[in-house]
Amino acid sequence: MSKFLLLAFRNVFRNRRRTLMTLLMVGGGVAGLLLVGGFFAFMTDGLRESTIRNGLGHIQIFTAEHFRRDEVHVLDTGIDNWRHVAATVASAQHVRGVAPRIEFYGMVSNGQKSSVYMGSAVDPDAERSLGFSANLIAGHDLTAKPGAEVQALIGSGLAKSMNVKVGDGLTLLAVTSDGALNGIDVEIAGIVQTGVADLDARYLRIPLTAAQRLLQSDRVTNLVVGLDATSNTDRVYDELIPRLNGLPQQMELKRWIDLALFYRQVRTLFVTIFLFLGTIVFFMVVMSSVNTLLMAMFERTREIGTMLAMGTPHSWIVGLFMTEAALLGLLGAAVGIVGGSLAGALLNFLNLHLPPPPGLTSEMPFRVLHMPWLMAAASLLVIISLALASILPAIRASRIQITEALAHV
């Protein structure tokens, strides 16, 4: 180790108790950032994957017309030859499968009471192959047995308001693609909870074939593409665009992030909170460290005067204090990383759960993700900030009057 670094290192530990307190302050700040950041990352990552798994998929394919105008009749902006489109997409690398969907709405009745529903028609086998699962709280998932009674999954809120249970029958009414009114009878196969109370009150899912019969159309609203990993979304998106260019219908692709409005809002909220907390922690850490550095400089006034008298350049003194500050930041960051990692591991081990947030119905697990990039970023931030924050006090120290400094007691 060079003598310069050795001097800086020993100076940091000249007053061990004060340095320890400063390291705990800096380390506590870094650990706090890691814990908050790790928790927020767990929340957003979990929300992202659950949003994708709950049926959003990684990429959705619509006709371009779908976004240009509202439908006059149901499915009149839908995908015509969707099996061909699905086959084209399915042959791309990283694509696990393609699931057709029809989004529709109408009235549901049990003979005594009627309610509005928001329907989603799916191919149960395709959905299962992509790992898209409904959160069933009663009954079982849809099956696609030909000739059997049409099955339906309904939201817990809708089941409650209609006063129905698994095995009960319902009649679905909807306007067909020709504008006529049509209806089919379904049997409740299961009751699901989406996690969003407003959606649970309107949610209804039936097999694709039943919906096509109800709506009198072979079209689908969109195709949902599932990938092997979320990180491949952009790569596959870029690959699919030219593949779908030559089709009779102009297609438009949407990435999951384009469609996940709720996810984006939550992430923005978390990022804002994190930045707010981070700013407060950052200032506390910097201020306490600068205070330590100022005290150290005051105590070493005569020593600085001696160095200057011996012809030590001002820049050397400034560099020494900046190095000491950076070392303080480095050691504090190390303390924070160790402390934050241990605290995170302990919290994960305790398997804690948070109560459901407003608008949601299920408890949320409390986990802290291990985030190497956040560790590196927090460490760099602390090291650079402390080094920069020490510049002014260091310059002041280097410009001290030598004769006064030598007389300092």
Partner: protein, 252 residues
């Protein structure tokens, strides 16, 4: 001999409340290379001020100081710093060693800021420590050394880069009589053996007995400049450039 330091009618005033206190009043002094010179006088006589001005860590209010032919009052701050680094060694009353460095690391320090390589630094620092008789204490930190040892480390630090001039401001003030005498003897020995020019200040009369040249200050003025006669060294002194004989009794 070549003239190393020339102080010409140097004055230094300090503001105190609303008045100017004159710490040094048109003091003139010439010091040649290889001299061993004591600046004597009571507290407040201007000894430290004169040393600070010669050492380029303060600027005179009027007059000028030449160091090795360079007018130090006209130098830029950067050149002044470089001049101190290259040509002057300092010994302070309170030792002023860096407490987190060992003895040898303290001695290395002037070479460190000069950018000398590590191996060269260690070799020169070891030689300097040996010259002050402290090789065995090289790895000790200042808090494990006695006062006399600390000041010898400070002397080694002051001479390690072979400066043209070593300035020692009351170097014996914090030492007992035995250590004080030993330190002055050590500095005299280094002066003789290495040809280094020493200027030290003291108000301890006993330390002046073996000092070949004594400049006395009183109220900021040079009141006498006594040279030991080259041959005698006991009772015969010559005053200033006029070479008037004065009695040894006057000096003591």
């Amino acid at each position: 001999m070549n003239e190393l330091v020339t102080a010409e009618a140097v004055s230094r005033s300090f503001p105190l409340d609303h008045i100017q206190v004159r710490a040094l009043d048109e003091a003139s002094l010439r010091v040649c290379c290889g001299e061993f010179l004591a600046i004597a006088g009571p507290s407040g006589s201007g000894k430290t001020t004169l040393l600070n001005l010669i050492g380029c860590i303060d600027k005179p209010t009027s007059g000028r100081i030449l160091l090795d032919g360079e007018d130090t009052t006209k130098l830029t701050p950067a050149r002044t710093t470089a001049l101190r680094r290259e040509k002057i060694g300092f010994v302070f009353q309170t030792f002023n060693l860096i407490p987190v460095f060992t003895a040898i690391e303290n001695v290395e320090f002037p070479l460190l800021v000069q950018g000398v390589s590590g191996s060269e630094r260690r070799r020169k620092a070891a030689a300097a420590l040996e010259s002050v008789g402290l090789s065995s204490r090289a790895r000790h930190r200042p808090d494990l050394l006695s006062g006399g040892e600390r000041q010898r480390v400070a002397v080694a630090r002051a001479i390690v880069h072979h400066p043209a001039l070593v300035l020692a401001d009351e170097p014996t003030a914090n030492l007992d009589t035995q250590n004080a005498t030993q330190l002055i003897d050590l500095m005299r020995e280094l002066n003789r053996n290495l040809g280094l020019t020493f200027i030290f200040s003291t108000h301890d009369q006993r330390l002046l007995e073996h000092t070949p040249r004594i400049v006395r200050l009183c109220d900021g003025r040079v009141v006498s400049d006594l040279h030991e006669a080259a041959a005698a060294g006991t009772a015969t002194w010559l005053e200033g450039d006029r070479h008037e004989q004065v009695s040894a009794a006057r000096v003591s």
